[in-house]
C-alpha cells in the first residue's frame, strides 16, 4: 500500500465492553483495518497510554471510535482529549450515541447509587460506611479517583461529535460500512447517524396485519409464533419506532426489538415516539381499561421506552436530592 497509513483510536467510557467485541466481529476484515490504519490507542488491545495521546499534535488521529457514555470526570477528560486529537470523532454504539443502559441510572443520583452499591446490597459488608472518595490520604501520599457524576451524559452532550454508529453493539457490517466510507473518503455530511432512515419493522420478515392489542405481555409469559408480528402477539416490540440497520435480528429469533438503534432522523425523543406508536395499537376506549392495559403490561415504562435513550431524551432526569438530604 503506497498511501500512508491513517491513525485510528478506539476508546471506551461508561460501557460494558460489548462494543470492543463488536469491532472484533469484523472477523478477518480486521486485518484490512490494520493494513489501512495504525491503531495508535485502544486500551483494551493496544499498549498505548493516555500520555502518548496527550503528546500527539491536535488532529493527529484520523478517526476515533468512542464507545460508552460519560459518567465520570476521567471519561469527560478523555472525551475532550480525544476530540482535540482526532479529525473525525465517531460516537460508537448506543451508550455514546444516546446514553445507553448506563443512562437509566439517571433515575437515581450519585448518593443513591453509592448507597446501593457500597452499603445495601446483601453481599456488601461496609460497617464503617466507606465510600469511594475523589481523594484519599495514605502515608505514601494522595490517591485520586475520578469524580462520579450525578448524571450520565451522551458523548455529544459532552463534546462535538462528527458521526454516530448506533446499536448495542453496532453490527459488524455497519462498522465495516463506516470504515470503508472513511477509507474511500465517502463519508456523508457531518452529524449523520450511520444507519438506514427507516424502521426495524420495514426490515422485519414477520407477517403484519392490523394491530389491536388488549394486553401487553412480557417475554416470559408467551412463546410467540415465528410468523406473526410480535407486537400483534402482544409483546412490546420497539421495532415501530426504531431505526433500521441491524437487519431485524432480534425479531427473527422470536425476541422483540428493544430499540438499541435509537430514533430515526427528525425524531427528537425516542420514547415519546414509541409511546405514541404503542398507544395507537391499544384496543380500548375507556380510560379505566386503557390505564389497566398500560399499567399491567408495562410495569417499567422508563426501562421499556427509554432503555437506551434516557440521557438523550427530553426527560430531564429525576430530581436530585438537595445537599444534605
Amino acid at each position: 500500500m503506497s498511501k500512508p497509513k491513517g491513525k485510528l483510536a478506539l476508546y471506551w467510557a461508561a460501557s460494558c465492553g460489548g462494543c470492543e467485541i463488536a469491532v472484533l466481529q469484523l472477523d478477518a476484515k480486521i486485518l484490512d483495518v490494520a493494513e489501512a490504519f495504525d491503531i495508535v490507542f485502544w486500551p483494551v488491545a493496544v499498549d498505548a497510554k493516555v500520555r502518548d495521546v496527550e503528546r500527539m499534535a491536535d488532529g493527529e488521529i484520523d478517526v476515533c471510535l468512542f464507545n460508552g457514555a460519560i459518567r465520570t470526570s476521567e471519561q469527560e477528560y478523555m472525551a475532550q482529549l480525544l476530540r482535540r486529537k482526532s479529525k473525525v470523532l465517531v460516537a460508537f454504539g448506543s451508550c455514546s450515541h444516546e446514553g445507553g443502559i448506563p443512562a437509566i441510572a439517571n433515575l437515581n443520583n450519585k448518593n443513591e447509587i453509592f448507597q446501593t452499591s457500597y452499603r445495601d446490597t446483601p453481599s456488601t459488608e461496609n460497617p464503617n460506611g466507606v465510600y469511594p472518595q475523589p481523594e484519599t490520604q495514605v502515608p505514601e501520599g494522595t490517591l485520586h479517583l475520578p469524580v462520579f457524576y450525578d448524571t450520565v451524559r451522551t458523548l455529544d452532550q459532552t463534546v462535538p461529535v462528527d458521526y454516530y454508529l448506533p446499536g448495542c453493539p453496532p453490527e459488524a457490517d455497519r462498522i465495516w460500512d463506516a470504515i470503508t466510507a472513511i477509507l474511500e473518503n465517502k463519508l456523508p455530511a457531518a452529524g449523520t447517524v450511520l444507519g438506514d432512515d427507516t424502521t426495524v419493522c420495514d426490515t422485519c420478515p414477520r407477517k403484519r396485519s392490523e394491530k389491536k392489542i388488549k394486553e401487553f405481555k412480557r417475554t416470559w409469559q408467551v412463546i410467540p409464533d415465528a410468523e406473526t408480528c410480535l407486537l400483534e402477539q402482544g409483546l412490546l416490540c420497539c421495532g415501530i419506532a426504531t431505526r433500521a440497520g441491524c437487519g431485524a435480528l432480534c425479531p427473527q429469533v422470536n425476541s422483540p426489538c428493544i430499540g438499541c438503534y435509537g430514533p430515526n432522523n427528525g425524531v427528537q425523543d425516542y420514547g415519546a415516539r414509541l409511546m405514541a406508536a404503542l398507544a395507537s395499537v391499544i384496543d380500548a376506549n375507556s380510560p379505566d381499561e386503557i390505564q389497566r392495559i398500560i399499567e399491567q403490561g408495562i410495569p417499567d415504562p422508563i426501562g421499556s421506552f427509554y432503555r437506551f435513550s434516557l440521557a438523550h431524551s427530553l426527560l430531564r432526569r429525576k430530581k436530585l436530592a438537595k445537599a444534605g438530604e
Binding site: 405514541a276 398507544a279 376506549n285 427509554y306
Partner: protein, 164 residues
C-alpha cells in the same frame, strides 16, 4: 426578594372544541387564571407526547391537553388516541418522579367555556400547590465536576506541554 411562584402552563387546545371553548370564555368574559399559554392544534390526537415533554423540558410547570368529548371528535376517534397516549405519557412521567397532577387531559366542547375556565383554574391551583417543576435545572451538575476536570488537566499538563 423572591416573587411568588406563578405556574407556567402550556395548553394544547383542539381547534374544533376546546379552542372555541376558550374563545367563548373570552367573549363571555369568564375570568380564569392567566397562566396558560394556549397553542391551537387541529386535534388533541395531534399532540405528540414529544410536545408535552418538550414543554416541560423547556421550563413549563404543567401541561394541559384539551379536546372534544369522546365520541365527538371532528376526526371521528382521534381523541381516543389522545387519551391512550396521555395515559402512556402519564405512566412514564410518574416513573420519572413528575407528579401526575402536572399534566392533564380535559374534554371541553365549544359550548363549555365555563368548564374550560374552571379546568384551567383547577390546574393552575394544583400546580401552584406542587411548586415549580424546574426540570431543566435537574440536568445541572454541581461545581465539583468542573473542578475535577481542571484537576486532571492540570495533572496531565506536563505531558501536554511537550509538543505545544
Amino acid at each position: 426578594m423572591s416573587e411568588p411562584f406563578e405556574p407556567k402552563i402550556v395548553g394544547f387546545l383542539c381547534n374544533w372544541c376546546s379552542y372555541r371553548a376558550a374563545d367563548l370564555a373570552g367573549s363571555a368574559r369568564i375570568k380564569h387564571a392567566p397562566n396558560v399559554r394556549i397553542i391551537r392544534v387541529m386535534c388533541s390526537g395531534r399532540v405528540d407526547p414529544t410536545f408535552v415533554l418538550k414543554a416541560l423540558a423547556l421550563g413549563a410547570d404543567g401541561v394541559m391537553v384539551a379536546g372534544c368529548h369522546p365520541g365527538e371528535c371532528h376526526y371521528l376517534e382521534q381523541n381516543y388516541k389522545a387519551m391512550r397516549r396521555f395515559h402512556m405519557l402519564k405512566h412514564a412521567l410518574q416513573a420519572m418522579g413528575v407528579d401526575d397532577q402536572r399534566v392533564r387531559l380535559v374534554w371541553a366542547s365549544a359550548a363549555e367555556g365555563q368548564q374550560l375556565a374552571d379546568a384551567i383554574d383547577q390546574l393552575v391551583e394544583d400546580v401552584r400547590r406542587l411548586g415549580p417543576l424546574n426540570w431543566p435545572a435537574n440536568w445541572q451538575e454541581d461545581a465539583q465536576r468542573l473542578k475535577a476536570l481542571e484537576k486532571i488537566a492540570h495533572e496531565h499538563a506536563e505531558a501536554m506541554e511537550v509538543l505545544s
